[in-house]
């Protein structure tokens, strides 16, 4: 059994764990992140609405309200520093019934109370003027210019890479099986090692209650709340410009309809409490429900252009708010739990807050050599013809297009595999460079991406997985099997 010693161990390589890791890397501490899956960004962060919320929705005084506002304000600067896609496209909360207009006003007031800037109420005609595809029934909307959209993969992976480049160690495929308090701190048991850590940060998403409850009498209960989504082709991405929400009304809570930072159209989520923390099955009922709800607020959605559906789990803590901070009866153990919406928005602010708490407790000093700038994988579509030509001259692999739907070159795919914390699975490549994310859903590029992954990581194609170990794309050929290849 390998024994390892760290000042701080973070459980979970999602956006929260990686935001904390990256902020904690500013301090003179030995830090590790333990992630159960083969890659970071493999739980709740990989399947959500990808929204940077303005902050009018959270209850005033809640942690959700505080970190939402702070995170929203940080996002633009951070997107430049870490080179990930973020667009402040503004959001609209539609009201479809005159009777509900007072609720729209109340939402505005809540937002103002929370400190959200620029909120205004638009008339139905004003909404239709800026968003022609909303339903004719719209009688008004709350417009939040600070609302935005982000690439959750881009944000999570950028934070992880930057943390790693600043010395944080990442243990992937590393599930924490148990935690014991010791005089020095905590022992985290993994299948093949013990991680001794003075401080533990619990950022384990839907599993955060289990880890919390291993060290504390005051238990948490996290209910996995599933949300199904539909993703439409980029040809449908311009159907709306803003992120369209709906004021809760006769049709219930409604769903959002938004373009994504890459120009797709995203619809969802449903909200169904499920028993299993692994239950990411989409269901016909929920997909039908979100289709109907979306069609109720936005006209003529080209549902024929759906390219995939997926579902994710929100980590809903029964208390209803984020649970952030040192656990009272387990000093040195810090929670970042119950991080459901607006968790993605809040992540940068939660990262700063928790890192400061931990550093203060550890009495750690800031490092002089921290470098917060991370250069992402090249975005060829942002280059001029000359720049792109020069790139291909330098490295001809940028001239070979592998994923035709998203226009991804071999050069980008190789970079996604060979860079810091590079991709080891097909999904890892997909989340970093979008190969296989497009309208054919890897039908054409899948075989080529497997070949490149195998070559760059020195493995057999049969060993390449879709994501976690066991999700192998190909089967090993058995000796003696019928084989009549022409």
């Amino acid at each position: 059994m390998k024994e390892m010693y760290y000042d701080a161990a973070i459980i979970g390589g999602g956006v929260i764990g990686c935001a904390i890791a990256r902020e904690l890397a500013r301090y003179d501490m030995k830090i590790c992140v333990a992630e159960r899956e083969e890659d970071v960004c493999s739980g709740t962060t990989k399947a959500n609405s990808a929204i940077v919320h303005a902050g009018y929705d959270a209850s005033p005084g809640s942690l959700k309200a505080r970190f939402n506002l702070e995170g929203n304000r940080m996002m633009e600067e951070l997107s430049k520093e870490l080179d990930f896609p973020f667009i402040r496209n503004g959001s609209l909360v539609l009201c479809l019934d005159e009777e509900d207009l007072p609720n729209l006003q109340a939402l505005l007031e809540k937002g103002v109370n929370n400190g959200v800037e620029g909120l205004t109420i638009l008339s139905g005609d004003e909404v239709r003027a800026i968003e022609p595809n909303v339903t004719d029934q719209v009688v008004g909307a709350l417009y939040a210019p600070t609302g935005g959209i982000v690439c959750p993969f881009g944000l999570n992976i950028a934070l992880a890479e930057n943390a790693c480049d600043n010395g944080v160690e990442f243990f992937l495929n590393t599930e924490i099986l148990g935690i014991e308090k010791t005089t020095e701190g905590f022992d985290l048991k993994t299948p093949d090692s013990i991680i001794h850590a003075k401080f533990v940060i619990n950022a384990a998403g839907v599993y955060a209650d289990q880890f919390h409850n291993m060290v504390s009498e005051k238990t948490l209960t996290i209910i996995p709340r599933k949300g199904d989504y539909l993703l439409l082709d980029k040809q449908a991405g311009a159907h709306v410009n803003h992120t369209i929400f709906q004021l809760p009304g006769k049709m219930g809570k409604g769903v959002l309809v938004t373009k994504t930072v890459h120009g797709n159209l995203l619809i969802g989520p449903s909200a169904t409490d499920v028993e299993s923390k692994e239950d990411v099955r989409t269901t016909a009922d929920e997909l039908t429900e979100i289709t109907k709800k979306a069609a109720y607020v936005v006209k003529d959605i080209p549902f024929r252009k759906v390219i995939t559906s997926f579902s994710g789990l929100r980590a809903h803590e029964v208390g209803g708010d984020f649970v952030i901070g040192e656990v009272l009866d387990a000093p040195g153990f810090f929670d970042a739990a119950g991080i459901e919406s607006p968790g993605l928005t809040s992540a940068p602010a939660i990262g700063v807050y928790v890192a400061e708490l931990v550093a203060k407790k550890a009495d750690a000093k800031k490092r002089a050599d921290f470098n917060g700038v991370r250069k992402g994988i090249v975005h060829p579509e942002k280059l001029t013809i000359e720049e792109r030509g020069n790139l291909i001259k330098e490295d001809p692999r940028y001239g070979t297009i592998i994923c035709r739907c998203e226009g991804v070159s071999e050069g980008e795919i190789v970079d996604s595999i060979t860079r810091t914390l590079g991709a080891v699975s097909l999904d890892g490549v997909k989340r970093r460079v979008r190969a296989g994310m497009g309208r054919c859903q890897a039908g054409f590029c899948g075989p080529k991406t497997i070949e490149i992954l195998a070559r760059e990581t020195n493995r057999a194609p049969e060993d390449i997985c879709k994501n976690r170990p066991g999700s192998n794309m190909l089967k090993k050929e058995e000796k003696g099997a019928a084989n009549d290849r022409a």
Binding site: Q441, G443, K475, K476
Partner: protein
């Protein structure tokens, strides 16, 4: 900016036949652009036989059929670029291409022939609910793995959709040693050719379950099984008919979509029924000087018809260049009605048309003992009985210029099915 008389987008069967025909019609400056590392397109992975019965009067495999046309292209010294992806085509016929050798360049064409083929509908387009494990492939992707990469995709296989690639892969996987447990088809009839059902399923004892679909997908890592259910006339699953089938692989053969994203950039109008361009009898699209043929125009069953159609596109592009800006006469509309889903072409220039043209079409459902009729402005001019009509089998009628002469004011030709 370099300029060519004709640029052909795609070096598969359509692009190759179009190039050869344009060359034979006297055009020397032709360039074929192919994104893959070989010419021949999807034929390279279709190693089964059954190709070429119409074109060459013999039964060839896909690669053999492709090789015949590649040889003609080589003999005619028609230039082509491999590993070259077209990123954009605009209505000025400027084509943006990318490859390793020359980077990103823009070349101009006097005429363009679209021959990009089609892609398979993925799982997501069907919204099959459930987990998203490894082991779910479109049939063509599995075909590529097995036939070109020499890989094994799975051991226990279920296939959803009875399109021709799915049927071919049922046989292919069986020959590879896999157990193909079922082919399920949502519709009450197969979307594939009758001969493929006999030769690929019946001969191997593989059950075809019509009016069935996949309602759940199990397996968090690799696929472990699917649940099939029978569907009613509205294609909704019938409660109580669920059947669990354990399998490690699900192949999808649920439809092909012409790949027209580039065409749209060039301002080409698309027919929502075919997802391919609207064309006239010379296969010219709504953008003058841009022609379309093969599976990018509409999905074919037989490559022989692709070659024939593509030859017409090549000849037409050559004529376009020679005639310069010919005056377009008023077009006669060709309409699909009563059981006919679409026709290609959808309009006809009866002044400049060839002596005869072939109108290809598909029917909307399986019909027995029905007539295919042709009407000229309401007058029935042709009425032919067919024992069986099925959506999976492309049909055709021939229109002759000499017959059309008798209808100087003709506005609309209707092609339809009739019970009597």
């Amino acid at each position: 900016m370099t300029e060519h008389d004709i640029i052909i987008i795609g070096g598969g069967p359509a692009g190759l036949a179009a190039a050869v025909a344009a060359r034979k019609a006297g055009i020397t400056d032709i360039l074929i652009l192919e994104r893959d590392e070989f010419l021949g397109g999807i034929l390279n992975q279709c190693i089964h036989n059954g190709f070429g019965l119409h074109t060459f009067k013999e039964e060839l495999t896909g690669p053999e059929y492709a090789a015949r046309f590649i040889q003609m292209v080589e003999e005619e010294h028609i230039p082509y670029l491999l590993n070259t992806m077209v990123l954009d085509i605009n209505s000025n016929k400027e084509v943006t291409i990318i490859n390793k050798e020359s980077g990103l360049t823009i070349i101009k064409a006097r005429a363009i022939i679209l021959a990009m083929g089609c892609r398979e509908r993925p799982r997501g387009a069907l919204n099959i609910p459930g987990y998203r494990p490894a082991g779910i492939y479109s049939a063509g992707t599995a075909q590529r793995f097995v036939n070109m990469e020499g890989k094994t995709v799975g051991k226990e296989v279920a296939i959803l959709g009875s399109g021709d690639i799915g049927l071919i892969m049922a046989r292919r996987m069986t020959l590879e040693g896999a157990k193909v447990k079922v082919v399920a088809e949502l519709m009450p009839y197969s979307g594939g050719l009758k001969r493929n059902i006999v030769q690929c399923l019946d001969d191997y004892g593989i059950p075809l379950k019509l009016s069935h679909t996949v309602i759940a997908i199990e397996g968090k890592d690799r696929l472990t099984g699917i649940t099939l259910a029978q569907v009613d006339e509205n294609r909704k699953p019938i409660s109580g008919t669920e059947e669990y089938i354990s399998c490690d692989t699900l192949l999808l053969s649920v439809g092909l979509l012409p790949e027209n994203e580039l065409s749209e950039g060039a301002g080409v109008d698309l027919n929502p029924v075919t997802s391919g361009p609207f064309v006239d009898d010379r296969l010219e699209t709504s953008t003058k000087g841009i022609f379309a043929c093969g599976n990018v125009l509409h999905v074919h069953d037989l490559v022989d018809y692709v070659s024939e159609e593509a030859s017409l596109a090549g000849v037409s592009a050559a004529a376009f260049l020679k005639e310069g800006q010919k005056k377009y006469a008023d077009m006669v509309e060709i309409a699909a009605e009563h059981g006919v889903r679409y026709t290609v072409p959808q309009r006809l220039d009866k002044e400049h048309m060839e002596d005869q043209i072939t109108v290809r079409f598909r029917v909307a459902d399986v019909y027995q003992d029905r007539y295919i009729s042709v009407y000229y402005d309401g007058e029935r001019v042709s009425h032919k009985k067919k024992r069986v009509l099925a959506p999976g089998e492309m049909e055709q009628v021939i229109l002759k210029k000499e017959n059309l002469k008798d209808y100087p004011d003709l506005k609309k030709i209707v092609i339809c099915t009739e019970v009597e």
